[in-house]
Symmetry: C2
Subunit: 344 residues, 2 copies
DNA sequence: GACAGTCGTGCAACCGCTTGCATTAATGGC
DNA sequence: GCCATTAATGCAAGCGGTTGCACGACTGTC
């Protein structure tokens, strides 16, 4: 049915190895022969069968991309960027969704391992030990996680959280709630660590609420907890939770930002469109997707490198944050950036 | 490096064909042998190489999923549902993004054709003729398009558009703008056709503006055109455009819905969160993703079937629509449904 | 004109697995 | 106790490519 290398060879009157070389080692074949073969290949609509090629070369030209939840708006820009970058290098992308389930992550990596050149693990929920083990079975690049010996692309959320908390304390907030993310999230731990340190430095209190599911509902359901805790400002694990929280706060009769200030993280598209518009820490998701693909393709088979790429985050101040009860200091304009560049 | 069928055969003391049958035709092997082989396979961490299997069986257990724009919030729920349904049947999903480019669609289908069992073409921008031609090279299921002989999953946007326009005319709107979608979109044509007929029946005027890019910016930039056209109500090709339009209208000093009513299509997550909350036609995207996968797996190799699955759409009335200048009739409560079920 | 070097091509093994056929052993009917 | 079945396994070809090696035809050198 499908046209194979043999059909092209027959049509061109050469051996299949010559056809093969025409595509994978053109310099080895006589220019005349080459153009004749190419003409026949074109005419017949021949495309090399990648699976067959992979069988012998070991390179599939496929990449696995594993995310916790495709429908979480944080991921699509990353997926899109990764896919486009991969295709630029003639690779295809398998996308898999693990529903925030660590066990499923492992299973999917294993299932994909044989048919990809590597796997991009975005915001994994697995343990470090398991990731290290898997990286022995298939080249891995993790995004939003730091593990010694595993190539990684990390967005500097620690800095983002610091600046967000500084923003809040400078507005006079003295009691800040932190909405934690899902269990197993490295990012969530980083945020917590950094926010905690920063709050202490500014002699503000940090009340941690969580872990929570990283969704709108996750934010909505803790609105009461936030009010009960007496916090006048909140830093949420991500924008979705922040937006859900705002909904919950408004429903409970609290005003945002007059009564409670809310800061999200990620700067998803949504955040510009809600009312009030969300103040948030922008993370360069598209850049992360591209960088992760580049890293995977660059490192190829030499696993266990210490290459880490750091991407900068920035505070985008919109309408969901305002004055708190305490004295406020003038904001440092250097930290406020409207549109983000990327540093490595 | 990787463990192959030979390693398992050696460990179990049987021929590789017995190992092969243990996995692909278990009834042909003695239960004792089978469990011994399975034990050794498990111990060694053996997983059959799918590429090698595909080479001989012709089945890859992979599916291609091609969308115009992963970052457009309409698609992720569909991708997520398709991926999960595919995995339920032990298939993996290649996701490709074509940036709304018809030529790229063709290229991607061809590139993927050899390594998938079929391709899901979601909201394709290609011509029917090209789709028919491609369907001869690889099994195809189209979503949101009707082509004779090609299996399809279509959301009944015609009915959705009809009910949306009826909603507007019953509120007293007599001059309605329709924001068209991208060139090549079957859905856009369906909406236009249906809206046009419905408007005529209600003796309202329909002003078509477009084609437009199906994005927030696409809606934002035509706000002036809408006002200039003197329309008091708008039906947009999708929610993203509707939301952009509302932004544009508000920026231009028009109130929504007091001065202009706006209806979107899709009911993306965003639409519940903007202010005003968007009235929109809900399309069952997740169900479409599942149905498309089921269809592809069911039809297998018998291309050219006429199987079409129709999914129902529903009007969700929120806050972006209100009274128009003309006389209004009471809304038909039967058409107003808050949460959607799915019919086939 | 003999010889070494280069270039272009063919040959055949092989990647990991499936599968039709052959082979062997065990079973049951008479 | 013999023969026909049936069950379980082995054998080997082949899926569509790639690649090390061998070989023949030129080329240039002395």
């Amino acid at each position: 049915m499908a046209v194979t290398i043999r059909d092209v060879a027959r049509a061109s009157g050469v051996h299949i190895s010559t056809v093969s070389r025409t595509f994978s080692a053109p310099h080895l074949v006589n220019p005349n022969t080459r153009s004749r073969v190419l003409a026949h290949a074109e005419e017949l609509g021949y495309r090399p069968n990648r699976a067959a090629r992979a069988l012998i070369t070991g390179r599939t030209y496929n990449i696995g991309l594993i995310v916790a939840d495709i429908a979480n708006p944080f991921f699509p820009p990353l997926i899109k960027a990764a896919e486009s970058q991969a295709r630029r290098h003639d690779h295809h992308i398998f996308v898999a969704d693990t529903n925030e389930d660590a066990a499923l992550e492992e299973e999917v990596v294993r299932a994909l391992a044989k048919q990809v050149d590597g796997v991009l693990l975005v915001s994994p929920r697995m343990s470090n030990a398991l990731i290290e083990q898997l990286s022995r079975e298939v080249p891995l690049v993790v995004v939003n996680r730091q593990i010694a010996g595993i190539p990684a692309v990390v967005m500097d959320v620690a800095r983002g959280a610091r600046i967000a908390v500084e923003h809040l304390t400078s507005l006079g907030h003295r009691r800040i709630a932190l909405l934690g993310g899902p269990r197993g999230s490295w990012t969530s731990r980083e945020i917590r660590r950094s926010a905690s340190t920063t709050a202490r430095t500014a002699s503000a209190e940090l009340v941690v609420i969580g872990p929570n599911p990283p969704t709108e509902v996750g934010g909505l359901t803790v609105a009461q907890d936030v009010l009960r805790a007496g916090a006048t400002a909140v830093l949420a694990y991500n924008d979705l939770m922040a937006i859900g929280l705002i909904e919950g706060l408004l429903a409970a009769g609290a005003r945002v930002p007059e009564d409670v200030s809310v800061v999200g993280i990620d700067d998803i598209m949504l955040s510009r469109l809600t009312r009030p518009k969300l103040t948030t820490v922008a993370t360069p998701t598209a850049a992360a997707g591209r960088a992760a693909v580049d890293m995977l393709l660059a490192h190829g088979d030499d696993r266990r490198t210490n290459a880490h790429i750091y991407l900068q985050t920035e505070l985008v101040i919109r309408d969901s944050t305002g004055r708190g009860p305490g004295p406020h200091s003038p904001a440092d304009p250097g930290d406020v950036i409207a549109h983000g560049g990327v540093a490595s």
